[in-house]
């Protein structure tokens, strides 16, 4: 049994979610090969080769794989992956975009967002916005799986010495092209990997008021998230959304400010170790999952909290 993991990278380093995915691969109990595909991958391949537990790094460096277009990448992963027992990728927007296309090309069902490995063919995953956990068994010759990063502790980024091997295969479907991207810039830790997350909801009233959360987050070294209500109202960009359809986080400490706690939001944060809720509505559902609840006006409580920590 050999597992192929599709690496997520930004052209410089390997994304932290890939380290969690490699941990899941390790639990399947097999040799692990890491596929790095893109354009201009010199340093990424070297970084990948140092990750603990990786036996081999496959490098597909070609213009067709720039920007990770699934029309070109999926045929490559399917072609290489056909010889493996499992193909894994992190359940990031990239992994979710590419892997089902790979599974369909291999004519197998995919298992999405696993949170634990029961055995080499059996896995658990949340369904119904995390309100039920399904145990799923696969008889597919190649098991195609996306991994929820918060379910697995990351492997060490150092200490490995994998062989690096170039992949010559080029697939260019010619049906899609990259036009451009607008990425949000932030000095704060990445939301999905942050130890502490401070999130704001509709109660923040406007985007300007998020400055109170940013100040608190900077004191705590925290990432800043938001509920769907805050994103839809235009307070903050959508890549800050935590929930069923946004990002899934499980930090040590999650501070929900002015968030009521709808099912869809809880789906994205209820595995946090400690949850704090600050809300002036003492009936808000968020208090049913909060370890510490404070019924107070957030505009008084958040600045006071920032001073106190």
């Amino acid at each position: 049994m050999t597992v192929l993991v599709l690496a997520e990278h930004d052209g410089v380093g390997i994304a932290s979610a890939t380290l969690n995915t490699l941990a899941a691969a390790g639990q399947i109990g097999a040799d692990i090969h890491l596929l790095v595909a893109g354009q201009g991958l010199g340093s990424v391949a070297q970084v990948a080769a140092q990750i603990a537990g990786v036996a081999k790094v496959l490098v597909a460096d070609n213009a067709a794989y720039a920007h990770q277009l699934p029309e070109n990448l999926a045929p490559l992963v399917a072609e290489l992956g056909a010889g493996y027992s499992h193909i894994l990728a992190a359940a990031t927007s990239n992994g979710k975009n590419i892997l089902p296309r790979v599974a369909a090309q291999l004519d197998v069902d995919q298992i999405s967002e696993i949170i634990s490995v029961v055995s080499a063919d059996t896995f658990t995953r949340p369904i119904y916005a995390g309100n039920a956990i399904a145990t799923v068994q696969s008889t597919a010759p190649v098991k195609v799986i996306t991994v929820r990063a918060t379910g697995f502790d990351p492997v060490a980024a150092q200490g490995g010495s994998a062989a690096v091997e170039a992949v010559a295969a080029v697939h260019d479907a010619g049906t899609s092209s990259f036009v451009g991207e607008v990425l949000a810039k932030s000095d704060r830790p990445e939301l999905t990997a942050a130890k502490v997350v401070v999130s704001g909801g509709r109660g923040m009233q406007n985007g300007d008021n998020f400055k109170y959360l940013y100040a608190l987050a900077d004191k705590l070294g925290a990432g800043v998230g938001a509920s769907r209500a805050a994103v839809d109202a235009g307070f903050v960009p959508n890549d800050m959304q935590v929930g069923q359809t946004g990002k899934i986080v499980a930090p040590q400490l999650y501070i929900a400010v002015g968030i009521s706690g709808a099912i869809q939001h809880l789906a994205g944060m209820k595995d946090s170790r400690v949850i704090v809720a600050i809300n002036k509505d003492e009936e808000a559902p968020i208090f049913q999952v909060a370890d510490y609840g404070l019924v107070a006006d957030l505009f008084d409580a958040v600045p006071e909290l920032e001073q106190a920590v």
Partner: protein, 254 residues
Amino acid sequence: MKVLACIKRVVDYNVKVRVKADNSGVDLANVKMSMNPFCEIAVEEAVRLKELSIKEGRVATEIVVVSIGPTTAQEQLRTALALGADRAILVESAEDLTSLAVAKLLKAVVDKEQPQLVILGKQAIDSDNNQTGQMLAALTGFGQGTFASKVEVAGDKVAVTREVDGGAQTVSLSLPAIITTDLRLNEPRYASLPNIMKAKKKPLEVLTPDALGVSTASTHSTLKVEAPAARSAGIKVKSVAELVEKLKNEAKVI
């Protein structure tokens, strides 16, 4: 241009589901069912594309709405017809199908209908798979614009702005293409009573997987479904000072 919009009947998003005592699944008896929220956005986008093409004096778009599911999914297809779809197709299947089986059935419908654009939701809120659109794209060989927050058709191309982890990305796809909708693509309209009445007269074709020649066999089996571990009830603190004290000394997280 013909647009195919795909919809799924799922438990209403406001319902707090309960796991069955025998762990065989989620109890859906007597639970409110609705169109999957992402599918509503897919139908709305199809209707807007049609309205736009009529305004610009091009050949009017036909919108075909399709669902794979039980007989009762006809309710959701009628809803889509009331929202502006022209006709409906139900591929009737009582069993719970995997995303790959659904994608294969949709591929057969695509072969039959030859749409220029297929719009699906990015995920169903019951299985939370986020697979079908991508799988359909693989089976048809079309380009895919997943998690779309903006769709612009121009000539034989469609520009799709996608919601990605770091922000937004725009790709250009050759038509025909597959699009899956994110929540911010549009705000779905409500069906008016006259439109609901008119929808009753619109055509609804019922097919079966056998008639389409598609096998829905799967490599999956669900062994059990359990309730997630419950969080123990927390406490209410009276002041910020008490909160900080608890976080430092009791929870030791700051």
